[in-house]
Amino acid sequence: MENRKKLDDLILKNKELASKLFVIHQELVFQNEEQEKRAAELLIENKELASKLFAIHQELVFQNEEKEKRAAELLIANKELVFQNEEKAKRAEELIIANNNLEQFAYIASHDLQEPLRTISNYMQVFEEDYLSQLDENAKKYLYEVKAASNRMSVLIKSLLDFSRLGLNLNLIEVDCNQLLKDVISDLQTIIKTSNTVIEVAEMPKLNLYEPEFRQLFQNLIVNAIKYQKKNNQPKIRIRSEKMNNKWKFSITDNGIGIAPVHFKKIFDIFQRIHNNENIYEGKGIGLANCKKIVQMHSGEIWVESVLGKGTTFNFTILNRVL
């Protein structure tokens, strides 16, 4: 009996244990399934991550290739620029040489032309001195015309010579334009007084300039303003300056006869005179060509505004170069 009870107890305990074990087993199975699920999820996530990484990698490779391509393109563009720059420098040098040759040519031509012309003028004078008394009125008139023509030619040649020499031996210095204009006006006292001209000069800057050339520029423009004037009209001239970025603009305004718009460009060309009546407005036709050349030396521009019969304004710009 005793044994039987013991056996029953054992069986019972065994059953309990078995059921506990089953529960544990169930639990383990469940956990296992869960872990497998998780593993599968992780696998998917892992794959996604890998594919993302791959895409990023691909993108980086592509970007890198693009950058290398771009760098190579830049390198070519850079070489091209260097080449173009060299070409420009070469071209500039050629232009300087051509320009020098041209100036040299103009100088030699005008210098050598003077020699035979002087001989003509001299013999005209000798002829006049020795034979004038033997000539009739017609012969005297012809002689006079030959003389007048050779004088005109002499003036033209001298102007050409001056024009070709303009800009040789340039020397940049700091100039107080107030003082420069005072000097120019004082040099022109005679013509200013006889014509009763009034000149009003505004505040002027200090600039680095080719001084003698710049002085000639102002002198030419002031003389023009006085010369091209209606009869019995008091010449009034206003000179002003204005800063424009890295340049300075100057303007000279007069109340003279004015210039027709068709002549606005032509007047700056050499030997172009727009007044065919030399007796009234005597000019050599080179003053404004000189002005243009001087302004160009200062990397500027010159232009004219005018109303016929009312007056003229000459404007020009000047680059303030660094000394």
């Binding site: 210098h111 001989t119 001299n122 004078q125 000798v126």
Partner: protein, 135 residues
């Protein structure tokens, strides 16, 4: 009033200029003696033999720059080497077509070059020279 008669030498290869300049010089004083040398070498030869051979001594030389053979500058260099005895008797004035500032400056660098005038020499220019240097 006439200026004192003197001797002037023209050194210039241009015959026409020499003819004209002599005329102009003589307008001031008809008695002026004008010696014409058409080359620098000829002028130097004259100056070197002037004292020994008792030739007329020019007080003034008008010197052209642009001449074939020896030009005016080369003449001045040679002249500089002449005995001081000769140099002391003569004065030089440049008479040229050139208006180049370089030429004017170069002429001024020679102490025995008195002046620099441009062609043609005229009666008026000659009078100015007389008034300035020979009074």
């Amino acid at each position: 009033m006439k200026t004192k008669a003197m001797c002037i030498m023209l050194v210039d290869d241009d015959k026409n200029d020499n003819f004209f300049h002599e005329r102009e010089i003589k307008k001031n004083n008809i008695e002026t003696i004008v010696i014409v040398e058409e080359s620098g070498t000829g002028a130097l030869k004259y100056l070197k033999s002037m004292i020994d051979k008792k030739k007329i001594e020019p007080a003034l030389i008008f010197l052209d720059i642009n001449m074939p053979g020896m030009n005016g500058w080369e003449f001045l260099e040679e002249y500089n080497n002449l005995p001081k005895e000769i140099q002391s008797k003569v004065m030089i004035i440049m008479l040229t077509t050139s208006v180049r500032p370089e030429d004017i400056e170069r002429a001024e660098s020679y102490e025995f070059v008195l002046d620099y005038i441009t062609k043609p020499l005229t009666k008026e220019k000659m009078k100015d020279i007389n008034d300035k240097y020979f009074k």
